[in-house]
C-alpha cells in the first residue's frame, strides 16, 4: 500500500476568516433569507385569521425595512452560533481558527450595531462583545472552509427541550414530545416557528442535529429518509392545528416548517431534541 506522505496544504489567512464571519453576522441579522420571506408569503395566503394576516403582513414589512435601512430585523441579534466545515487539507496561517471566528463576531456586533446579548450565568454581567461564540467544527475531506453564521435568539431557545425517551416510547413518544414542547411554548417563541428535531445519537448530538435541522431551507423535507419526511408532514399538520397562530394571537399558521434529522442511537436510548426557531430564522453561509 502506498502511503501518501506529502499532501499539498491550502493556506488560508486567519484575517480572511475574520472578515468573512463579520460580514455573515451583519448580513444574517439585517437581511432575512429569501426562503423565509417566501414561506411567510405562503403563510399569509393560507392564514384565515384576520389578526394573523395582519401580523404576517407586519413581519414581511419589517423584513423589508430592516433590509433597506440595514437595521437588525429583531433587536435580539442572538448568541453567535457558528457551524464550520473545514477540509483537512487546509492550513490556517496568521492566527487560530476559533480566535479568528470570535474576532469576526466581535467586529460584527460592535461595528454592525448589533445587540450584545451574552452574560455571565451567575452575575448576569454582560460580556460586552457578544462572546463567546458557540462554534461547531467538522473536519472533512477536501480543502474548502465553509462557515455558517446563525444568530440564535433567546426567546425561541428558551422553549426548546431535549429528553431521553426509552425505546418503548417509539415514534408516538417522539411525536408527543414534539407536540407537548410546541404547545407549552405557545406565543412565547414568536410564532410562526420553525421546529428543528434531532432524533437519536446521544443527548448532545440530538441537540446539535435539532439545531442543524434549522439550517435547511424552510420547508425542504428530509430527502434522505422517507420515514422522516412522513413524520415531518404529520407534525407540521398537527402543530398548525394547535391554533396558536402568528404572534400567538390565534390562527392557522403556527409553524412554517418541521425539519427532522436522525442518526442511530444506543440500544437503551431514544434521545430526542426539539430546537424551536422564531420566524426571524437567520443564517448565512459562505465557502472560502
Amino acid at each position: 500500500m502506498e502511503i501518501k506522505t506529502k499532501t499539498k496544504l491550502r493556506r488560508i489567512n486567519a484575517a480572511k476568516i475574520t472578515k468573512a464571519v463579520r460580514k455573515l453576522f451583519i448580513e444574517a441579522n439585517t437581511v432575512l433569507g429569501e426562503d423565509v420571506v417566501e414561506a411567510l408569503q405562503q403563510a399569509l395566503s393560507r392564514e384565515e385569521s384576520q389578526t394573523g394576516k395582519e401580523v404576517l403582513q407586519k413581519i414581511i414589512e419589517n423584513a423589508g425595512i430592516a433590509r433597506r435601512k440595514k437595521m437588525p430585523i429583531c433587536q435580539d441579534t442572538g448568541l453567535a452560533v457558528v457551524f464550520v466545515e473545514m477540509g483537512q487539507d487546509i492550513h490556517i496561517v496568521g492566527g487560530e481558527l476559533h480566535a479568528a471566528i470570535e474576532e469576526g463576531v466581535r467586529q460584527a456586533y460592535d461595528e454592525g450595531y448589533l445587540r450584545k446579548s451574552v452574560c455571565d450565568p451567575f452575575t448576569r454581567k454582560n460580556t460586552t462583545d457578544n462572546l463567546p461564540a458557540i462554534i461547531h467544527v467538522d473536519i472533512v475531506a477536501g480543502s474548502h472552509l465553509k462557515i455558517i453564521a446563525m444568530p440564535k435568539g433567546g426567546g425561541s431557545e428558551n422553549v426548546s427541550a431535549a429528553k431521553m425517551l426509552t425505546p418503548s416510547a417509539g415514534i408516538d413518544g417522539i411525536k408527543k414530545f414534539v407536540m407537548d414542547t410546541v404547545e407549552a411554548a405557545g406565543a412565547n417563541p414568536c410564532p410562526p416557528i420553525i421546529v428543528g428535531v434531532g432524533i437519536g445519537g446521544s443527548l448532545e448530538q440530538a441537540c446539535v442535529m435539532a439545531k442543524r435541522a434549522l439550517l435547511r431551507p424552510v420547508g425542504e423535507q428530509n430527502r434522505i429518509d422517507e420515514r422522516l419526511e412522513r413524520i415531518e408532514k404529520e407534525l407540521y399538520q398537527s402543530i398548525n392545528n394547535l391554533g396558536i397562530g402568528p404572534a400567538g394571537l390565534g390562527g392557522r399558521v403556527t409553524a412554517l416548517a418541521v425539519h427532522i434529522e436522525m442518526m442511530p442511537c444506543h440500544i437503551a436510548s431514544l434521545p430526542v431534541a426539539v430546537n424551536i426557531q422564531c420566524h426571524v430564522a437567520r443564517h448565512k453561509e459562505t465557502t472560502l
Binding site: K69, Q75, M179, L249
Partner: protein, 186 residues
Amino acid sequence: MEARKIKTPLTEEVVTSLHAGDMVMLSGEVYTARDVAHRRLYEALLKGEKLPFDLQGAVIFYAGPAPTPPGKVIGSIGPTTSYRMDFFTPKLIENGLRGMIGKGNRSPEVVEAIKQHRAVYLGAIGGIAALMSQCVKKAELIAYEDLGPEAIRKLTIVDFPLVVINDFQGNDLYISERRKWRIGDH
C-alpha cells in the same frame, strides 16, 4: 378592527375600558426594563428605596434595544418574552404599575394582580423590531447604565401598535384565541 389611541400615564378609567382583543395605539412615555432591571426594581421596593422612575400609572416595556447607530433615535426594538418578569411583576403592580408591554403568556399571579389592581398587559408582535423602532421618537437612558442593553430607558413613543392580552376582568386573549382556532386534540 380600528385601533384605539391611548396615552400614558394610564389611568384606571382607561384601563377598565380596555378588553382582551382590543387593538390600541399607545403614545407617551414608557420605560424599558427586563430581567436584571426587574430584580433591581424589586429589591429597591423591598428596601423602601426610591425607584428611578415614578411607577404611578407607568407602563413598562419588556425590551432591550439594539445599539443606537449615529444620527438615529434608537436601534431596532421589540418585546422580549414576558414570563421571565412574572416573579417581580405583582409587587410592581401593587406599587402603581398600570401597564406592561411584552409577548407571551403571564403567570396566574400576574393575571390576578392585573385584576386586583386594575392594570393591563399589552401584547406586541415579536420580531418586527425595525418597524417598531420607527414609533420611538425619543430615548433617554435613565438608570442602570452598567446593564448595557438591559438598562432602563425612558422612551417617547407615538402610536405603538399593541393588542390587549390580559384585561382587568381576567380575560386572556392567548387562551381564548387558541381555543377558537384549535382543531381537534393532538
